[in-house]
Amino acid sequence: MTQMTMAKALNEGLRRALADDDRVLIMGEDIGKLGGVFRITDGLQGEFGAQRVVDTPLAESGIVGTAVGLAYRGFRPVVEIQFDGFVYPAFDQIVSQVAKLHYRTGGKVKMPITIRIPWAGGVGAAEHHSESPEAYFVHTSGLRVVAVSNPQDAYTVLRQAIASDDPVVFFEPKRLYHAKGEVDLDAPLADAAPMGLARVVREGSDVTILTYGSQVQTALDAATAAEDDGTSIEVIDLRSISPVDYRTVTASVRKTGRVVVTHEAAREAGVGAELVASVTERCFNYLEAAPVRVTGHNIPYPPAKLEKFHLPDLDRILDAVDRVMDRPNSLTGIVAEGGVR
């Protein structure tokens, strides 16, 4: 076990994947000499050469499209999209090609492509640098979508994603790049929990919070704070947001009967909508209250100085806990009046 940042854990995960399988290669903007704008690929070009750690022209559709061609030839490309907001130019190649080629070819062509995306807000960044586009990919059949919340998962799940024969969109909360944690670099991958499994990161009996990525820590903080009021909160880190591990989720919800879902992305047709809908479908008779979503507003990501009013923080989660616990909360008067959530 070594103490390291998530950035370092990702770097080690890539190094290991490159070392273990010579069909793995990494492509992206500025990932070579510079080691990526977040230094996730630091040192890898020096170690593995420019043929395997490839600085590409500045064109995301080109990056993903050439990765498709490399996959056709049996490579396992790991693509870095420099920031969340720059994945959209590659959307067509991802949705129409990466996600569908295995299906379109009747399984004759595999697309073991990992698309790494430094992700989401909370770091005071400029426009287009704090997007949470995960729902677009979750809605796209043929992709797997994961989000990591700690260095150990960053290391392990990244390696699992690269080893998967399916395309995986891999979200890295940039807010946590410098957060440290213990990482076991030597544990055999075969022993690790499968990529699709959720993890109960805190047990509790009153409310289940479903979340992923950097919101896991916020949810844990909320759970700690709620303890003071005597509210016992179970926090589930979904890890895989497509597919979702509903075995773990429903077990928890059947126990608590109350659900809060939180993510940074806009609420409308977000991952939270799917979680609430699925939980309601699967656990209706166990629910004591309507599941509540605590999410970014339905607005474009606001300017950095205002992002704190957009991000679902500890207080907003606690307010949601009050809602599912049928305690007085911010909407108490309002819900009664009309249709407002």
């Binding site: 080109g62 499209g65 498709v68 056709y72 049996g74 295995h102 379109r104 009747g106 399984g107």
Partner: protein, 376 residues
């Protein structure tokens, strides 16, 4: 470099400003650049190229007929484009890898595609049936231009594997407007990837004439990216074969990508759903009919005494035979069972799909017939 650069003259309809070896009348003319590349092509070889074009034209006619008879949902005819499809494919080695578009039936045929590969996808039985590993071909692409990047990526893979293969990608004049095609040229040039771009400029993107896409010759774009290019008569199979040999050799020997614009014409509608009389002058069609890729080869061979009735009959036989096989493949198609819609969404086990299969199977079970038989 001269610091002020001006475009080449407008091509518009200047379809004769091309490299050519066989005129429309079947006269063999000299071209110092192209000639060396086909020096070995004798009459016997040319006859076989003619046969392949004739078979392809027959596949196309059969596809149209099958669609008219309701056996296929759609068909995208390639008649008129036989020379570029067969000629360029024959300029490649079998282990080179091609990335065609939906209209390159001739490329798939020349790679060894089975009759079912031509029709089952248009019939709606499968998205694609061809075997990429056997044919060394990607699936024919419908998203305009997307396959050009795949070809570049594949070529980057060839570089990493250190083999002397090349990849080749086919796309249309309309496709040349897509960002992906231009990104493909950027990547190819940047990495010196062994890829050949083949733009089949058939004068139209559905109803839009090529001048909507291009104010200058499409072949003129590649050099700006650092890619040498050639503009050839796409109805001249010798020119197409020579151009591909030049381009493939360029790529194969490590000199990087090359680009071919083949000037041709889509003699039919865009697809069987299209009505070209809405946008095309019949006189134009007639002008192009006079430039037919098959007749000029026949005329040339006849003049050489290398094309007789016996050969014509043999070609006819090949075409009839293929047509029968294509028809049989269409009529004999067996639609897959309902649950097959879940096949191959993922390569590895997937809890979501597993659940869906359980649920949909249970649903289908509710439709058991009198004997309790269930189709799923």
């Amino acid at each position: 470099m001269v610091h002020t650069l001006t475009p080449a003259a407008d091509i518009g309809v200047d379809i004769d400003d091309v490299a050519r070896l066989l005129t429309a009348d079947g006269e063999r003319i000299a071209d110092s650049v192209l000639d060396p590349w086909i020096a070995d092509v004798d009459a016997a070889q040319l006859r076989e190229l003619h046969r392949e074009m004739a078979v392809l034209r027959r596949i196309d006619a059969e596809g149209v007929a099958l669609q008219r008879q309701g056996q296929l949902g759609l068909w995208a005819p390639c008649t008129g484009q036989e020379a570029v499809q067969i000629g360029t494919t024959r300029g490649l080695r079998n282990d080179d890898f091609v990335f065609p578009s939906y209209r390159e039936i001739g490329v798939v045929y020349a790679r060894g595609g089975r009759p079912s590969d031509f029709v089952l996808s248009w019939r709606g039985e499968a998205h694609s049936t061809l075997e990429p590993d056997t044919l060394h071909s990607g699936v024919p692409q419908i998203i305009i231009g997307a396959q050009t990047l795949h070809a570049v990526g594949y070529a980057m893979g060839i570089q990493r594997d250190g083999t002397d293969q090349v990849s080749a990608t086919y796309f249309g004049d309309g496709a040349s407007s897509q960002g992906d095609v231009n990104e493909a040229m950027v990547f190819a040039a940047s990495f010196g990837a062994p890829v050949v771009f083949v733009c089949s400029n058939n004068q139209y993107a559905i109803s839009e004439p090529v001048r909507v896409q291009a104010a200058a010759p499409i072949a003129g774009r590649a050099p700006g990216y650092g890619i040498p290019s050639m503009r050839v008569d796409g109805n001249d199979i010798l020119a197409c074969l020579a151009a591909m040999r030049w381009a493939a050799e360029h790529a194969r020997t490590g000199a990087g990508p090359a680009f071919i614009e083949a000037v041709t014409y889509r003699m039919g509608p865009h697809t069987t759903s299209d009505d070209p009389t809405r946008y095309r002058d019949p006189a134009e069609l007639e002008r192009w009919r006079a430039r037919d890729p098959l007749t000029r080869v026949e005329a040339y061979l006849r003049a050489q005494g290398e094309f007789d009735d016996e050969f014509a009959a043999s070609v006819q036989h090949s075409a009839d035979d293929m047509a029968a096989q294509v028809r049989a493949a269409a009529l004999g198609a067996v639609t897959k069972p309902p649950l097959s819609v879940f096949d191959d969404v993922y390569a590895e086990p997937h809890t979501g799909i597993a659940e869906e299969i359980v649920a949909f199977a249970a649903y289908l079970d509710g439709f058991a017939d009198a004997e309790g038989e269930v189709a799923r």
